[in-house]
Structures are given as C-alpha cells and as structure tokens.
C-alpha cells in the first residue's frame, strides 16, 4: 500500500494503453514515455505492461506502508528516499534515521515500510515513472489499467491522483524470481542507463504532403522546433515556424471533388491546423482527425516528445517504414537484455 502525500502535477496510473475500442472513439492512453515504463517494470521483474505511475511534475511524495521493490525511470526528478521514523531489524547499515538517499532514473531500490519517496520535479518538463514489483492493483477497464483523464475512466477512479489517495500493490509472489547482488540485500540495487532524448525525432512523410508546397515541406524538415507550453497528454503544439497548407490545385494539380475527410489518427500524427502551428498527437489524442497531416512520428521516437524540455530544440528527420520497424526492434531487444540481466535464471531452473 502507498499513501499519496503530495500528488504532484497530473500524476496518473498508466500501463501501455488500450486497443480495440478506437471505433468507439476511445483513445489509446497509456504512458507517454512507454519505453521508460517498460524499463522500470523490467527492473522490478514485472511484465512490461504492468500499471505504474506517470508524474508530469513535482513535488510528489508517497509514504510506503509495506516493504516493496520499486524502480524509477524517465525524467530525473531528483528522487530521494527518506527514512521516516525508526528502521527495524538488521538494516541499520542504511545509516541514521531521517537520512536521505538519492535514487536515479533507471535504478531500482528496496523500500522499507515507513519510508517516504520524494520526487522534487524538474523545471524543464518531462515525465517520471515509478514501477512497483507486482504492479499497482487496478481493475482494468476495456482491457487496460491506463487512465483516460479527459473521459474520466480507467486507472485510479478515472482521474489524476490527489493527496491522501491510497493505492494497493499486487502480491508479487507469482512473478519470476529476480537476481540480486550481495550488497543490495538492503540498499541500492542495479540500474541501467536511461535513454536520453537526442535532438532529432524520426518521422515518416505524411500522406497529405500534397497539401504543402515543396518549400513548406522543406521548412518542416529543416526548422528547429520546440514544444510550446500548451502541452498535455493529448497532444503537444510545436513552436518554430508557421506552415501554410493550401489547396493542392495551387500546386498545378488537377482539382477534383475529393476533400480531406476525417480518418483515423494515432499517437505521432503531426497535423497542421489552419493557424499553421503543427500539433503532434500523443497517447490521449483523439481517434479521428481532419486536418492535413504533414508527417507521422515513428513509434520508437514518440517517447522523446514526452521528455523534451520546453527549451529543447529539435528537428524532424525523415525515415522509412523499414527504419521505423528496425528502431522498434532495437528498443525491444534493449528491454529483453535487461529482463535477462535481472532474472534469476538459476532459481528458475531449480524450480
């Protein structure tokens, strides 16, 4: 059980999202930086899609009411583990009471009952994730524990967490055993280097490219972009230049009766509304859209948009479908390697 002392900014229960209900207008939801959630889950031996917490800003603080194994990932929110009161038994090596121990993204650690976890937050934005061994005990709705905040269902009561909420953690007894190093019986555990956002985002050229003149297309690929402050789980609006979309008749093509009709859009779709400021749809993005689409961010790079700070400048780099799939496979292998590294293979053999 964990008690929320300070709920932070838009802290929500997320897994890898839901599928199968887009034809009813139900969006995907799930962690914006899904790679970070997979990594944190893997570190504690959970399947990658277990429910954890996504935190968009600090200060965030929880009190842990039982012993647990947790992992942090995503943005560095300067996390500290505080010894609330006295510590029991043979763990005095942790140091004096009320001492604070730093925890970094990409690391896991044992938490004892009574300890508090504090995440200060990060001025530049980004999102931090916490996975708990066993996963948060949340009833799935439409096949997922992810919170759809705009619609108000899923996750913890269909909303962001508030102070004083109490969340349970599932019994991890069913999970495969983990391998622990000698020194980590009581203290900091193993970690892995988190992915750092490079200042490029790979994207497939959109299927309405003929709405944009060659010059406008070049401006899209060659401009430096920033995430504007109007940013949420649905979408992020980009700051940079203004792109003019135009009826393609002006490009010397034959006019026809066909219009741009609404069709499915997915996380990563880059739409250009009439004001010319591109919008990238994210996990909570609407299911269909009718604006011209200039590009489609590849799934493997979507997490970068969740982690760019407001000051970060980045560019879009065109890539092929093959490259997009290869990038996904590479991420999958990274997680597989991590899972193998933390699993206690010997113990599983003995069983």
């Amino acid at each position: 059980m964990i008690s929320i002392i300070k709920a932070g900014i838009q802290t929500s229960v997320q897994d890898l999202g839901r599928s199968g209900y887009r034809h009813m207008g139900v969006c995907q939801s799930g962690a914006l930086d899904s790679e970070a959630l997979k990594l944190a889950n893997s570190l504690v031996g959970n399947p990658i899609n277990f429910a954890g917490l996504e935190i968009a800003g600090g200060p965030f603080e929880i009190a842990c009411q039982s012993d647990m194994l947790i992992a942090l990932s995503g943005a560095d929110f300067s996390a500290m583990l505080l010894n609330n009161k006295l510590l029991l038994g043979n763990n005095m090596s942790l140091g004096a009471n009320n001492s604070a121990q730093a925890i970094y993204p990409g690391w896991r650690c044992h938490v004892r009952a009574g300890q508090r976890l504090v995440l200060k937050g990060h001025a530049g934005g980004g999102r931090a994730y916490i996975a708990f061994r066993g996963g948060l005990d949340i009833d799935p709705v439409m096949g997922s524990c992810a919170t759809d905040i705009a619609t108000g269902f899923g996750g913890w009561q269909g909303r962001s967490l508030n102070n004083d909420d109490q969340l349970s953690i599932k019994n991890p007894a069913q999970l495969p055993a983990l391998k622990f190093a000698q020194h980590e019986q009581h203290n900091i555990d193993i970690g892995t280097r988190p992915l750092l956002p490079e200042h490029t985002v790979r994207a497939l050229p959109g299927n309405n490219m003929h709405y944009f003149s060659a010059a406008e297309q070049n401006r899209f690929w060659q401009s430096d972009w920033q995430i504007s402050s109007s940013r949420n789980r649905m979408a992020c609006r980009l700051k940079g230049c203004t792109l003019a979309s135009q009826p393609a008749t002006k490009l010397g093509q034959q006019s026809s009766a066909s219009k741009l009709y609404s069709h499915a859009v997915i996380p990563g779709t880059v739409q250009v509304p009439a004001d010319g400021q591109p919008i990238v749809l994210l996990a909570d993005g609407q299911t269909t859209g009718g604006y011209p689409k200039i590009a489609q961010v590849i799934q493997a790079d979507l997490w970068r948009l969740a982690q760019f700070s407001h000051t970060a400048m980045f560019r879009f780099v065109p890539c092929s479908e093959q490259e997009a799939i290869a990038a996904l496979k590479q991420q999958q292998h990274h997680i597989y390697r991590l899972q193998r590294a933390v699993a206690d293979v010997d113990k599983r053999k003995r069983q």
Binding site: D139, N207, H210, M234, K259, Y261, P273, Q299, Q332
Partner: protein
C-alpha cells in the same frame, strides 16, 4: 491544447478542393489504387483504405461498414467485452479497425508476424512485414466485397435510436442564432431538426461522438466566432453543415440548440458500465425527438 470542434468538420472550407490522394507525388511509392479505392500506409502500425475518390456518398460509407465487419469476422472474431484482457486473436496482431468518412484504418502490432506467415528459409522477409501483410489483407477484403456487391445485396436493417432532446432555453442557447441565420422561426428549426432520420457514419473525435449524415441544409450555420470554453455533455449542436451531440463536456465552437438528458430509460452516449460503451455505433439511424 484542447481539441476544438473545428476538427470535427468534414467540410471545413480550408480543406476542400484537394486533388485525389493518388495524385500526390510523395505517395506513389507506398500507395496503391484498387477497385476505386486507394490503400496507403499511415504509419508503421497502420494502413488506410480511402474510397472517397470513387464516390463520396452514403453508399460508399455503407461499403466501409461492410468492410469493417468483414475484417472483424475474418481477423478479430472475439467479441469485445469491457474488461476482457486481450481481445486479439492470438495469431493476428490486429489491434483496431477504425472506420472514418469513406475510409477505414487498420491498426496492428508492427512487430508481430503471424506464425502462419513466418518466413521459410530463404524467403524474403520484407515481403512478410506486418505492413505488407495487412495491406494485402485489406485489399483482398475490399476486392471480395466489391465482387459480392455485383450480386444482389440485402440492405442492412439499421437500428433506429430515438433520443429525447430539450430544445432551446437554457439547454439550447444558440437556437435563436440558428433561427436568425436560416430565416426560420425557432419552432421551425426544431421541427426541421427532428424531421430527419440521421445516419451515424462513424464514431470519432471523442468517445461516443457520432458523425451524423442528414442535416437539412437550411439549418447550416457557421460555428461561433469564439468557441465556448465548455459545452455540456449531451449538447446537441450545429457546426457548418454538420449536426452532432457531445457525449462529454468539452470546449466547442458549434451552435448549441438543445440537450440530451440521459434518464433511466435512456443511457448516456458513452458509459463504460454498458456494453457496448458507446450508445451509437456506425450504421445506426438516429432520430431526435422533441422533449419539453
């Protein structure tokens, strides 16, 4: 950023007069024209079939519904109940079948190669990527559908759903504006809005939001110059040549003429306790009934 009702415009004046998608030089490599429809890749996880260049009318939309159900029965026959952990076929990798306006999108797991299609030794594995597999299946289903269309088609018996609407007053603050614009009395606007059976073309934008076909052109009214910060759930509104009903409270620029108030007898437009959660489904018929 909030989604604005601008985005639910099928007829946004900014977007008309485009060429057929197939004219785009960027698209030739990854698109294909088949039986009057074009198939293209939306992303490494999605392929789209667009039948709008053939003929953009309700008949085309009906074919889209038939295509959706053909694909569902071929590749996703497990009925979807809220709470089921995994609705996919174990050997399919298909995640979503999403009808749009005269188009349909398949969303699939880009790393999932069906076991039955695992490459034999020496086979060209690029031929069997999920994008290729789903593009082929989509085309095949469309071709089969068109072939069976030549034979006598039974018109589907559509469900007619009646929704009681409180028009005007506090529930329809823009009723008078619509009346003024159309040159009708508020009473005539209500009657005209209730006189038609609307067709649900597809659901999108918001959970349970129906794109309706059938608004009397007399009632077309431009969106408000300044969108409202909040439009209440159940609001019935007109935006341009569209009419719609908001399942959830949201910002919006449409002219609000009435409201649907769910009761014990009439479920909310989107309710996760119900199965299906969306009251309206693509191909349903919808009738607004005046309720005072």
């Amino acid at each position: 950023m909030q989604p604005d009702s601008n985005d639910i415009a099928l007829d946004s004046p900014k977007l008309v007069d485009s060429p057929e998608l197939v004219d785009g030089p960027e698209l030739i490599d990854n698109s294909d024209l088949i039986d009057g429809a074009e198939v293209f890749t939306l992303s490494e996880t999605a392929v789209v079939i667009d039948a709008s260049s053939d003929s953009a009318n309700l008949g085309t939309q009906e074919k889209i519904w038939q295509l959706a159900s053909a694909i569902r029965s071929a590749y996703q026959p497990v009925s979807q109940h809220a709470g089921l952990l995994d609705t996919r076929l174990p050997d399919s990798g298909l995640l979503d079948i999403v009808p749009g306006m005269y188009n349909l999108t398949l969303i699939f797991d880009p790393l999932f190669t069906p076991r039955s299609l695992k490459p034999q030794t020496g086979a060209d594995s690029t031929q069997l990527s999920p994008i290729t597999v789903w593009t082929k299946r989509l085309k095949q289903c469309w071709r089969d559908l068109n072939r069976s269309q030549t034979e006598a088609q039974q018109p589907a018996t559509a469900k007619v759903i009646e929704l009681p609407i409180c028009y005007g007053g506090e529930y329809g603050p823009d009723l008078n504006a619509v009346a003024e614009h159309s040159g009708l009395s508020p009473e005539q606007v209500i009657n005209a809005h209730c006189a038609v059976d609307y067709t649900v073309c597809f659901i999108g934008f918001q959970p349970g939001f129906a794109y309706l076909h059938g608004l009397n052109p007399l009632l077309s009214t431009p969106r408000k110059a300044t969108p409202r910060q909040r439009v209440d759930a159940g609001s019935v509104a007109i935006g341009g040549s569209q009419t719609g009903i908001y399942p959830l409270a949201s910002p919006g620029g449409w002219q609000i003429i009435g409201r649907y108030l769910p009761t014990d007898k009439h479920q909310a437009l989107f309710d996760i306790q119900q199965n299906p959660a969306s009251l309206l489904q693509a191909s349903d018929r919808l009738r607004f009934v005046r309720h005072d």
